[in-house]
Amino acid sequence: MKAVRLVGVTKGWAGVKAVSNLSLSMEKGEFITLLGPSGCGKTTTLRMIAGLEDPDAGDIYIDDGLVFSASKGINVPPPQRGLGMIFQSYALWPHMTVFDNVAFGLVQQKVPKDQIRSRVMGCLEQVELAPLAQRFPSELSGGQQQRVAVARMVVVSPELLLMDEPLSNLDTRLRMQMRASLKRTHQESGTTVVYVTHDQEEALTLSTRIAVMNKGELEQYESPEDVYDRPATQFVAEFTGNPQTNLIEARAARTAANSEAGIDLEVAGKVIGHAMGSGFPETVVLAARPEALMLCDRDGPGRIPATVYATLPVGSSVLVYARIGGSGAGASETVIRAGRGVRVEANQRVWLQLDWSQVNVYEANTGRRLDNAVRP
């Protein structure tokens, strides 16, 4: 049984496609993150699942029931879709107390008064806000407001919980705490969660699966490990990097002399690796995370020459910024995560050794991943 299934969902405004032909399905109890830069269509997708926005085309199923179909003219109203939603602004009603905010959904369901009381207070206790029940939202801190927003939706025990960047208005420390508390809430309740964020770290830490979106299309939909280790496209590789993913352009040349190895990969005029197979494009992009590069102080086979630009110690390690191909135009900047004992200085000449097991190769024109065997 699928908790949510989107089939060919499309939505646009004034000719601009916000979401195009999106198909996606989620298992019960999953924590799915829609990840992407602003304007990629993730919030629109969430709002279409909620029923706050109507797709132009496609079908949406919740718990295997058809809730929206453009072709069949079906559109189940939001309250009958059995879901809860937490908004980026929290959307707490400023004229109601915390208690009344949380009780609202139960009042709508005509739950008896005494039950409302016990359920609301129970829920507020869970988020540690019971003593503040009679306060107004404006009298609470950001973190407290966020917890009220969660409590307000959790109290009606929805099967599906939608969250639209719920942590983006909090400071870093609070955000970390709230992440932990969200993850626990999810694990305890077993509710399916669809979570929208542009923060890749949030996506990696919380999700069972991540749907990376770009320009209204789905780029990759896999577990956090797969998204991180084997990004399906150059866009995903770039977007999930922290601090950034090194994208090194390489020229592929078929060598007559060494036909067995097949193809030479050249960076800055130097052969640094070989690839096999036919149909290999002329230009490829090597994506390597900062920890997939090793800093060497002398040249060797497969090493890329570079010049140190700056070094940034970050406590447990040192981030070394180096430029490949001199310092002029056409130079590409790379980041290397080095051990904390490493001593290099600006303008020093260094050589970069790739850890090929952690390198993904993409076709430069299309950004598609190439799964040909590449070796040193």
Binding site: A50, G51, L52, S71, K72, G73, I74, N75, P77, P78, P79, L83, G84, M85, F87, Q88, S89, Y90, A91, L92, W93, P94, H95, F104, G105, Q108, Q109, P137, S138, G142, Q145, R152, M153, V156
Partner: protein, 602 residues
């Protein structure tokens, strides 16, 4: 699945969203109440009227197409005297009035909302008093202060006590008109601007301050652009209101033969030259329409940012320091002269048995509680004994309370519909149509409703002579103000607040009742109150529609002005004001909202 069933379902889905259905309903009703009168207005300028038959005699076939009216109004001596001169006069007076409204309104708003000025609450409540007064209070008072023998009038207060005879330009004409109208109308500028100022998060200004901007450049580059839409609306409303006003130009212009478009329209209609009078109305409409168009263009793009979200707005007050008390004293003195003196003076004058004699021996309560005495005012009894007056009081109260509440509620509903479907053409059209009555001069609006409801038309009954017609004309005429207040209040509530309630299963009517209306309550109260006050002292709108059975206070007062019973009209004006003030404060106390803070947040 066949196509018919799919289409049927889609229709059902759409109907489930009552805001869309409501938009259509409003659009149809407003089209009848606003667009049809406009068409008949234009039509009247293009056909022969019954009056023309009497004036011109032959060659006139009533109801037949003619360009006669337009030809007469475009060129020739008649056009010069009846059209071009009043037009120039109107523009002169309006420019002065609007300049005064903008200057006074924004200065006071800034002082009360953004500075730590002493007695801010008192200043805030005094600042809106002129708005509560009937529009002719200031002009009546002005006249009774400055009139003298040089303009062939009995002595005024100034001449009585100092012997100084004011020159004619100070008694009649554009200067006194612009000043009295500006002083009467500036409070809505104050309300609009203080509403806008209240919604500015002072962090916006603080960040500019941190970036090294001086106070004046913060004002110029941060504060002014944010309140610009409010200033623009103020100017627009000022133009529309002062151009359509009849009372002041009649009192301060007609004796010196200084005509404005509104007094000219009135005199043309009274002499049964409707065709030509309505051409002037069309001109007024075009001028105001131009303003509205400019207003729409300017603010449609920038009006969409929500200011009430999950978080509060911080505001920090500017310190006036050692200037605080002097500024407060000067402001209060000014407000005293504008808000308290005219009424006190009219009260005093209503107690003088013979007009123009301010000595103690001449005082008496005759015009208030006196029994019929043929020595005074042809035996008319004092107003508190006068059955006609008491009946008119009851009618006025009934009319303004019912009209205010109805209009306020409809304004919120329309504001909701417009705000929710901002991009749809239906809601855009609805917003624009609802603003049209603002452009129609009151006197013309009254005339139009007279013709529209004189006889039964299809399902619409003949309403002439009924109380319902007065309510209807009030609601439609004042709708622009409540819709404006409704749209801006609704836009301030972020859509997510309502969507959260959608998710939690609240049907539309519940969302409105529990979320949207409570959050916009101050907008509703402010809107209703403005309508209540306006209609309580509205004269030109009703003067053609009332019958002896449903006379209101203002029309009765104007009858006394016309026949020259100065003390009676003064006493009635005072009574009217007392009524308005009592009603306003009763509603304020009941709703616990402050009109001055009405257009802002809570």
């Amino acid at each position: 699945m066949n196509g018919f069933e799919v289409r049927f379902r889609k229709l059902g889905n759409r109907l489930r969203r009552p805001d869309a259905a409501l938009a259509w309903l409003f659009l149809i009703v407003l089209a009848y109440l606003v667009v049809v009168p406009l068409i008949s207005l234009t039509r009247t300028t293009l056909v022969w009227g019954t009056g023309d038959l009497r004036i011109r005699g032959e060659n006139v076939e009533v109801g037949k197409f003619t360009l006669y009216h337009w030809r007469r109004m475009i060129s020739g001596d008649f056009a010069k005297a009846v059209f071009y001169k009043p037009l120039v006069n109107t523009l002169t007076v309006t420019t002065g009035t609007v300049a005064l409204i903008l200057a006074l309104g924004s200065l006071l708003a800034y002082l009360v909302v953004r500075t730590d000025v002493r007695w801010a609450k008192l200043i805030g409540s005094l600042a809106i008093v002129p708005y509560i007064l009937p529009s002719w209070v200031l002009s009546l008072a002005w006249l009774q202060v400055f009139q003298n023998s040089t303009v062939a009038m009995p002595e005024g207060l100034l001449s009585y006590y100092t012997g100084v005879n004011a020159p004619e330009w100070l008694v009649y004409g554009p200067l006194p008109m612009a000043v009295t109208m500006g002083l009467h109308y500036y409070p809505f500028g104050y309300l609009l601007v203080s509403g806008a100022l209240t919604s500015i998060d002072s962090q916006l200004e603080e960040s500019a301050e941190i970036l090294g901007a001086s106070k004046s450049s913060i004002m110029r580059r941060i504060t002014m652009p944010i309140i610009k839409p409010a200033l623009f609306s103020t100017a627009l409303l000022g133009i529309a209101r002062s151009m359509g006003t009849f009372g002041t130009p009649a009192i301060l212009g007609l004796p010196a033969r200084y005509y404005t478009l509104s007094t000219q329209i009135y005199s043309l209609i009274r002499t049964q030259r409707e065709g030509q009078g309505y051409i002037l109305a069309v001109v007024l409409l075009l001028i105001s329409g131009l303003g509205l168009w400019a207003n729409q263009r300017m603010i449609s793009a920038r009006r969409s940012y929500a200011t009430i979200g999950g978080k509060g707005v911080k505001s920090r007050k500017v310190r006036l320091g050692k200037w605080n008390t002097p500024i407060a004293v000067v402001t209060l003195l000014f407000l005293f002269v504008v808000a308290v003196f005219p009424l006190a003076f009219l009260t005093w004058s209503s107690l003088t048995l013979n007009a123009g004699d301010y000595s103690i021996s001449n005082l008496g309560l005759h015009y208030w509680i006196g029994r019929s005495n043929p020595r005074f005012a042809a035996g008319e009894p004092g107003i508190l004994r006068n059955e006609a007056v008491l009946g008119a009081v009851w009618n006025s109260v009934k009319l303004s309370v019912i009209g205010g509440l109805l209009c306020g509620f409809l304004g919120m509903l329309m504001g909701y519909v417009v705000a929710r479907a901002r991009k749809s053409p239906v809601s855009r059209l609805l917003e624009q149509i609802s603003f049209v009555p603002m452009l129609v001069p009151s006197i013309v609006f009254g005339a139009l409703y007279l013709t529209l409801f004189a006889v039964r038309r299809g399902p619409v009954p003949a309403l002439y002579g009924t109380f319902a017609l007065l309510v209807l004309v009030t609601v439609v005429k004042q709708l622009p103000y409540t819709v404006r207040s409704g749209v801006s209040s609704m836009l301030q509530v972020s859509a997510e607040l309502e969507e959260a309630a959608v998710i939690l299963g609240a049907p539309w009517i519940q969302r409105l009742r529990k979320i949207m209306l409570p959050l916009t309550r101050s907008g509703f109260v402010a809107g209703s109150l403005i309508v209540l006050i306006t209609s309580m002292r509205e004269l030109s709108l009703y003067i053609l529609l009332v019958t002896p059975a449903n006379r209101v206070l203002t029309t009765l007062t104007y009858r006394y002005v016309e026949v020259g019973y100065t003390q009676f009209s003064n006493a009635m004006t005072v009574l009217l004001t007392v009524l308005v003030v009592v009603l306003t404060y009763a509603i304020n106390a009941w709703q616990k909202t402050d009109l001055a803070a009405g257009l802002g947040g809570r």
